[in-house]
């Protein structure tokens, strides 16, 4: 009598997966879902350009939103509201200008004609910052408390180039032209 020589099905070479691996997978998937859902639930419009914010001022009301535009150079005034630093300026995009009062220090690279992205809300009154006239002068201002600078993809040294004037993409047609108004 001969023995059964047919090989058995091989046993799995790896042990059962450790429970923590399942937890890591679940965590990674959950994180991905949370990120997706948060972003989908949030306004899919990241920011309003200045012209859109002016157009939709009634709809937006006093809700917080994010605004983009290029600061108009000669409008920038820095000062204090009590102990709090403020910077007032007008910004433009797509032919519209908005007067802005930013509460807090401006961003490190804040400068004329370089677009900024601001979080804040409309306030139905003219800005009250000493020395600031405002370009829009329409009885409204945007009160901001968070500023990001939207730099472009020019990486140029001013020793060789000083001709660049960064526009807020294609829309900053008020940049630097209406300060005397």
């Amino acid at each position: 009598m001969t023995g059964e020589m047919t090989p058995r099905a091989p046993r799995p070479l790896r042990a059962r997966p450790a429970p923590w691996i399942g937890a890591v997978i679940a965590l990674a998937l959950a994180a991905a879902v949370v990120v997706l859902v948060l972003n989908l639930l949030a306004d899919s419009l990241y920011f309003y350009n200045a012209d859109e914010a002016v157009e939709q001022r009634e709809e937006i009301g006093s809700k917080r939103f994010t605004l983009q535009g290029a600061p108009i150079g000669c409008s920038i005034v820095e000062g204090f509201n009590g102990d709090e630093p403020v910077v007032a300026f007008s910004l433009s995009f797509g032919g519209a200008a908005i007067d802005v009062v930013h509460h807090g220090d401006p961003a490190e690279l804040f400068q004329p004609d370089v677009p900024v992205v601001l979080d804040g809300a409309w306030v139905a009154e003219a800005p009250l910052v000493e020395g600031f006239g405002g370009i829009a002068n329409d009885g409204w201002h945007f009160s901001s408390d968070r500023m990001r600078v939207k730099h472009d993809n020019d990486y140029i040294n001013d020793e060789e180039y000083d001709e660049r004037s960064t526009l807020a993409d294609d829309g900053a047609d008020l940049t630097g032209v209406v300060c005397e108004a």
């Binding site: 023995g3 990120v35 990001r148 040294n157 660049r164």
Partner: protein
């Protein structure tokens, strides 16, 4: 199972990878030879990477000019852009490897996909980290949840971490490879979205447009950037070769263990038969 069942590319992997032949590493000599993933070629490549890193540091910190807006912060471009470029390269390699696994059932390509995914996680993490560090002085923030490119890149990282976790979960080798290939291909769908996001959401994103294709760079800045890409690419190849060889050796070791288990089973069966016969 022998290494020959691993599908296409066995010869290349067996000889090039471990510096050994295509054997099953059953002898002590072969085990000794297989104990290293290095070779003359990889050592030269590693040396090239080290020299390249020194050249990149010198060019990046001392030769390339500062930007008139960002000043010295612009030097982060020499690490950030190459990292992003290699993230794309790694994930495309994973996608190709995944397709080849699903199509040809080639273990060689499966290991390529796995190795490239690990590289992809490293480079993607580096891209996010360097971008964040660069963002603080320039954008005035480390992170912005509203920016499409940032968020889609983070999703890519999470998907690739999920890919690796799936690989690590174990189970039937072929089933794991198939599931991972599907995840790898799903992750690759994100690549064109990330790459084109600054165009598709133009005027709706904080991230600037492509520095390489649309940017306006000083000659020396552009040259240093290309040096950075070449150095990172060399590092990618060096690390990929080593990681691939480790993967291939792991695969061979699993084959040897299976073969040993079969031999043991046969021996047990023979012993049982002899016992029965003696009774």
């Amino acid at each position: 199972m022998s290494a020959g069942t691993a599908g296409t590319g066995t010869g290349a992997a067996g000889t090039g990878a471990a510096g050994t032949g295509t054997g099953t590493m059953s002898t002590g000599d072969r085990r000794d030879e297989a104990a290293t993933t290095g070779s003359r070629g990889t050592r030269l490549l590693g040396l090239g990477v080290l020299v390249g890193v020194v050249a990149l540091i010198l060019l990046g910190f001392f030769a390339a000019p500062a930007d008139d807006e960002q000043r010295d912060a612009v030097r982060m471009i020499f690490v950030h852009v190459p990292s992003a470029f290699l993230t794309y390269t790694a994930l495309l390699t994973t996608a190709v490897g995944s397709v080849m696994w699903l199509w040809k059932r080639s273990r060689w390509w499966d290991i390529v996909a796995h190795s490239a995914a690990e590289m992809g996680v490293i480079f993607c993490g580096l891209t996010l980290f360097t971008g964040s560090v660069w963002g603080r002085p320039t954008w005035n923030t480390y992170w912005d949840w509203g920016d499409v490119r940032l968020v889609t890149t983070l999703i890519l990282l999470l998907m690739m971490v999920g890919y690796l976790a799936l690989r690590a979960a174990g189970g039937d080798e072929n089933a794991v490879a198939t599931r991972a290939a599907v995840v790898g291909l799903l992750a690759a769908v994100n690549l064109p979205i990330i790459n084109r996001s600054v165009e598709w959401w133009a005027n709706r994103t904080l991230h600037q447009k492509s520095s390489l294709t649309d940017g306006n760079l000083e000659d020396l800045t552009l040259f240093t950037l290309f040096v950075g890409i070449v150095v990172w690419a060399l590092f990618f190849v060096w690390a990929m070769v080593h990681r691939f060889r480790i993967g291939w050796l792991e695969h061979q070791l699993a084959s040897v263990e299976l073969e040993a288990a079969l031999v043991q089973r046969r021996a047990e069966a023979s012993a049982g038969s002899a016992e029965e016969a003696s009774l």
